[in-house]
Every structure is written in structure tokens, then in C-alpha cells.
Subunit: 413 residues, 2 copies
């Protein structure tokens, strides 16, 4: 490929109804077109403070330490774990899908002693099993995913904080796939660190990870503070704990950067910050309760449409994430051929699956800017047509009608 | 601060003439307003391949492995070091400023055995001192910064690769502050891994780190490959080397993501990728040689203007980076008051300094979209006015005239 032949960016107008990323809200992209500021410019630091204020309600918290990690959602996960966990620390992971496995993977690299409390893909971990595991294993940290898109399950988290605090453990929640679409209640759950991403229910691009940290967890992290040489200052003293294994993900230095200390750590990803700020403004402008209800209506509509086609929804419906739906691929249908026709004929993306579910289910998302009635109806109509073309007979028009009725019912109640 | 009172993004139109970030090229911001794509969408993977092709000439390399790390420039540095260096490995760092210290800091957290070969701030490390240190220390990896904005010095790198390869060492270069403004010659230097950032001479926002990796270094990194559970595949086998200490920065998995294997690692930061792609298109469209000459003319103009005001340029001019100029703060002048007036009266940002240079020099940048004749003239005219207001007398109009003459002379030759 010759560089001079590479033209202007001009992506197709694709409707992204997979498990994320999804289409960004136009207001978010417009906000990201604003010109840059120096990282210690008073206007820039004001924007940083505004981001902190905007994300507190999004996380359901009053935590002072609520800010952004510069990287994708996975960067927020790793920053949390490497800052909370030292080599040799015991960590209990609630494991009910691919992203539970990711937590164990990151922790293994940190050198943690990891134990999991497992549920089969498509179920969640009962809280009494968590309690028993905490009692048995005596972890220093308990880590879990909130909604795991690989299985479409959302782990109930009420009560988790009490269990952890009673055992003297810190707690971590990866809310990448639910933040902005399902309620995040960091304070009510009583959990210590929660992270997210923009590219799912917040309707922004991947590349910035909102995070919130309780004072208790912040104290533990600051005890490991080690300011890098070259930017040492008299007003910032190192802690006595084990140094955090990463510089980029050292949340102690990043908190010092976001505090009035304004320690010079990395150069803030300004454009991503503008985007994250607008994501939260859009969400709070709509109102969090109506926004969660909209995702709930989307889930009801999607399930009704899928079932009207004679298809089966995957997993335990009581714990299903509202923003993504797993659908068994019917016998005799080529799942990848369906996805290809959806993309090529309708410019709609739906998702495949991972691990034990690969080739068994599709995952259709309706999140953020795409958790809208018309986008669900269009997707179901297209899927019906594609399934027919691939040899699967379903009652014509039934899916769209059922989905519309379910949406309307869910929106009234 | 009440979230609902936080309004639309509307930064002041500030001219960023510090050591970076600088104003983004408008084409880059426009490219970033394009809507998103799924990460394995054929159009998206085409864009990824185009980014690889576009950054090869920018790095002066034919390396297959040329792509982006999702995070700020510092993320690219840490990804390189954690993937190249295992605990206990011996690493030699060329240390001539704050960012040399940053390399030692990251390496210490990795558990490397670090030795430095030092130069005072304002000078560079002589290549014979590097050769002697390699001979003495027998490092596995040699790491250096190319241009260190903290001192405005650019380390000459011709010959470094030969020294390293003769000693069986891999080499790493942090080119964050020079890429797109001064020549990066990865292949001619013979170095193995080079990383950059967008927010300086490439005229984009912070948040994406271009990287290039030689086949030799890629082999060493793939030998440490360990694909995470949940996404294991029969066609990707783990290596036998020590597992890389970070999941997010595991360049083996990231290369598998950017290769035709398309391993599902993080969700690519699509909007930042659009921006990085456009940064390279702008640079190659101008032509790299004319672009480097433009930065050279900017340096000549800035130095001529500074000297016409009776001020003194910091550091060894033979090795001065073209895109940033250190200026001694004259006796009796309050450096911070000058910066404040520059910002408040003229909406121009100039930089302060770190460590031993704090309070001693200003740093004025002219990079990327801001390495332009008129922006240098405006900055110098403003500085003259501000210095006069702060009690420093300088010949009226001399700086601008001298800078214009120097620019014109440098642009002709």
C-alpha cells in the first residue's frame, strides 16, 4: 500500500448493533472537534474539574476521586488492579465470562494469588457463594465485572461492599459494559473502585476510561505513592507501601495530577477528555433514570422481536443486561453468513461470540445512542429478511410488530 | 460544582507555543469527527492497515510492525519497555533530561537492573561514552530519548544501532517530542523500537502513540507471548519466554491484533486512530523533508528573535531540537508573571521548566501546525511587550525583524 494513495477518512454509515463499540452521539464527536489547550491551562484544569463533577452521578457516588484514565476501558481495569494489588496479595475474582477471565489474567501478571468463584456462562455468581469464598480465602481485594458482554449477564452487586468491608477487603468493579445504560451505584453497593469506558452505553469512542475511587481505596493507593525523579516536589511525599508496578497506571500519580497539586504526569488526552465530558453531559441531560428505562425498553423490544421470529434468547433472563441480547443461532443457519449479509445488505453490524459461545449465539446490542426504538425495529426487520435468505423461515413482519408493542408497553409502565 | 450547570465545550482560542501539546491541525480534528466503526469491520481493519503504511515513512523504516498503542506517548514508552525487558534484565539508559529519568523510573518498576550514561541538562551523551558503557555493562537493552523537551536537546543517534547489535543488545528510542518535526531514521539508526506521540510535531491531540518494531525485536517479544484465557485460539501459540508484566501493554497481543490474526485484545480507540491517520497524511502531504526544514527555519527565527531582545538561548546549540527553544529568564524578571501576561493579554502559552531548570528558563515551542512564520512573529512581538511591562527593556521591534529575516534566510537555503 503506497502512503500517498491513502485518501480522506470516509467510513461507511454503519449502524453498530453489536456488543460495542456503537455509534457515537453526534454531540460527542462535535465536542471532540474543539481545539486543544495546554494541560495546566486554567481552562483545561477547569474542564478536568468539571469531568470529575459530571462523572460522580454517573457512577452513583460522592467520591472525590472520580476522573479519567487515558486509554481504553481495559486501561482503567489494569490501572485499578495494579494500583490496588501488590505481588503476593490474595485476590478473589467473580468469574462468569470472558471479562472475569481478563481480571484473572491481569492479576496473574501483577503476581497476585488469585482464586475465582465461578458461574457458568449465562448465569451470575450467587452472593452467598461470594460470601463463602471471602470467608474461606480471606482476600485482600475482591474483583468483579458488572455486566459481561461475552455472556450478556449483569452480576447483582447490592451487598458486595458490606461483605468485603466486613472482611477487610477492598473491592473493584469493571462497569465498562453497563455504565450509562444500567444503574451504577458505587456508594450503595459500597464498592471501592469502579471503572468504565465510553464506547458502549455512554455513546462515545473507545479511548478514555472513567474511574471512581473511595477515600479508603485512595488511602491504600497513596500509601504506595512514589513520585518519579525529575518531577519530585517538596509538597508531595512518597508512601511506605510497595511501589506500584506501572508508571503509566500509577493511580497515586494520576490522582496527584487531577488534584490541585497538578503533578505533571502524562499529557492529558485532551480530545478524549472533551469527548468523555460530553458523554456525561448527554447522559445527565437526558436524566439517568429515563436513560436506564430507555435501555430497559430496548431490551424488552429486542427480546420480544427475537422470540416472535421463533428464536431463543440466551442466558438467565432475570440477570440479563438490558443493553445486549444473546440469541441462539438456529440449527442449520450459518451465523457468520447472517452477519455478513446484515453488514453488506443493510449496513448493520451484529456481534458474534467468544469461547464456549463462539458459533452458538449472536450478540445484538442496543446501547447509548443506538438504544432507540427505530434502530431496534430496523435491525429486527433486516434480520428477518437475512434469515429468510439463509433458509430460516419465520413469520413475516412478526418481529417488528412484537418489538414495537413491547417498546411501547415498556415505555408506558 | 453542580453537574447540570456545566455547559458546552468552548475553549478559548489559545496559541500553544509551549513544549507541547500544541494546537491541532484542523484537518486532524475534522477527521476525528467521523462516525465509528466496529473494531473488526473490514473498513476499520483497512484503516488500521493504512495507518501502518502511513507511519513507516514517518519513522523512516520498512518495519512491518508499525502501528499505534492506545494511550498517550508515555503509554508507548511503557509498552515498549515492559515488552522488551523482563525483571532482572540489564538496561542502559542515556540520561540527559527529565525523560531519561522517566525511562529509568519505568524500568525500575519493571524490575530491570538499570545503569545510566549521563550528560548534564543542556548537553547530549557522546557516542563514545555510550560505547564504553555498553562494553562495561553488557546491557540486554539500551534505551534513550531522542529529543528531550525538558532540556531542548536532541541526542544524535547515528551509529547507536551498530553499537547495540554488535553487543547483542536491543535498542529503544522515545521520539515523542521529535516525530514529524525532526528526522526519525529508525532503519538508518539501526534501532529496534521507536515510539512517538501526536501532540507535538505531528499536530494532533495526545492519546495515541505510534510505534515501530524491528523484526528482531518482534521475535524477542513474541517469544514472551501469552494469550489471555477466554480468547485463546489454535492458530496462536504462546512463547516460552517470561510473560510480559502487563496485559494492556503486551505488544505481542497488540501485534496479533494489528496482524491478519485480528486477535481481540482491547477495543481500538477508533477516533484517536482517525486522528493519528490524518496526522500522518498531513505530514506526508507536506513532504517530510520540507516539514523538517520548516521546523528548522522556525528554530532559526526563534533564536534570532530571542537574541535580538538581548536574551540568551539555553543549551548546546549544535544539538538543539528545532521545535523547542530554551531561553534564560533574565535577572530580576518574574518568569511566571511573564507567562501569565502572555496568556492573559495575548492568549499565548509558553512553557516553564522542570527540575534543575525550573525558574531558570522558559521553553517556547514551534511545532507541527504552530511551526509557522506568523505564529513565531506574533509570539515574539507579544513577548517583547510583556517583558517591557515586567521591567525588562529591549530594543522595540528588533525581535520580530530579526526573526523574519532569519526565517526568510533559512527558507531560501
Amino acid at each position: 500500500m503506497l502512503p500517498h494513495t491513502i485518501g480522506e477518512i470516509d467510513p461507511p454509515q454503519r449502524l453498530l448493533m453489536g456488543p460495542g463499540p456503537v455509534n457515537a452521539h453526534p454531540r460527542v464527536l462535535r465536542a471532540m472537534a474543539a481545539d486543544l489547550l495546554g494541560q495546566f491551562d486554567p481552562e483545561m484544569t477547569s474542564y478536568m474539574n468539571e469531568v470529575m463533577a459530571l462523572y460522580r452521578p454517573v457512577f452513583g457516588t460522592g467520591n472525590r476521586w472520580t476522573f479519567l484514565v487515558d486509554g481504553t476501558a481495559r486501561a482503567g481495569i489494569e490501572a485499578s488492579l495494579v494500583s490496588m494489588v501488590a505481588p503476593g496479595d490474595r485476590v478473589l475474582v467473580l468469574n462468569f465470562g470472558r471479562f472475569g477471565l481478563l481480571l484473572t489474567e491481569i492479576l496473574a501478571r501483577i503476581g497476585a494469588v488469585v482464586e475465582t468463584v465461578d458461574a457458568p456462562w449465562g448465569e451470575v455468581v450467587p452472593m452467598d457463594a461470594v460470601a463463602a469464598a471471602i470467608e474461606r480465602f480471606q482476600p485482600k481485594v475482591v474483583a468483579t465485572v458488572h455486566g459481561d458482554t461475552s455472556t450478556t449477564m449483569a452480576q447483582p452487586l447490592d451487598g458486595l461492599g458490606d461483605l468485603c468491608r466486613a472482611a477487610g477487603a477492598l473491592s473493584y468493579v469493571d462497569a465498562t459494559a453497563t455504565i450509562g445504560g444500567m444503574e451504577i451505584a458505587a456508594d450503595r453497593w459500597g464498592v471501592d473502585v469502579v471503572t468504565g469506558g465510553l464506547q458502549k452505553c455512554l455513546g462515545g469512542p473507545s479511548g478514555s476510561s472513567p474511574i471512581t475511587i473511595s477515600d479508603r481505596a485512595a488511602d491504600a493507593i497513596f500509601a504506595r505513592r512514589h513520585v518519579e525523579e525529575g518531577i519530585r516536589r517538596d509538597d508531595i511525599t512518597d508512601g511506605t507501601g510497595i511501589r506500584i508496578g506501572s508508571n503509566y497506571f500509577d493511580l497515586a500519580m494520576i490522582m496527584d495530577y487531577w488534584s490541585e497539586k497538578r503533578l505533571n504526569h502524562h499529557t492529558e488526552a485532551t480530545t478524549m477528555l472533551y469527548g468523555a465530558r460530553e458523554c456525561a453531559r448527554v447522559a445527565l441531560g437526558e436524566g439517568l433514570a429515563p436513560r436506564y428505562a430507555r435501555h430497559g425498553a430496548a431490551s424488552q423490544a429486542m427480546m420480544a422481536g427475537i422470540r416472535a421470529m421463533g428464536l431463543t434468547v440466551f442466558g438467565d433472563e432475570r440477570y440479563k443486561m438490558t443493553n445486549v441480547t444473546g440469541i441462539y443461532i438456529p440449527d442449520g443457519v450459518d451465523g457468520e453468513a447472517v452477519r455478513r449479509r446484515m453488514r453488506e445488505d443493510f449496513e448493520i453490524e451484529i456481534g458474534s461470540a467468544f469461547g464456549p459461545l463462539q458459533g452458538k449465539i449472536w450478540r445484538i446490542g442496543a446501547m447509548g445512542y443506538n438504544a432507540m426504538k427505530h434502530k431496534i425495529l430496523i435491525t429486527l426487520g433486516a434480520l428477518e429478511s437475512v434469515l429468510r435468505a439463509e433458509g430460516y423461515a419465520c413469520p413475516p413482519g412478526a418481529a417488528v410488530d412484537a418489538a414495537l408493542a413491547a417498546w411501547n408497553k415498556a415505555s408506558i409502565t
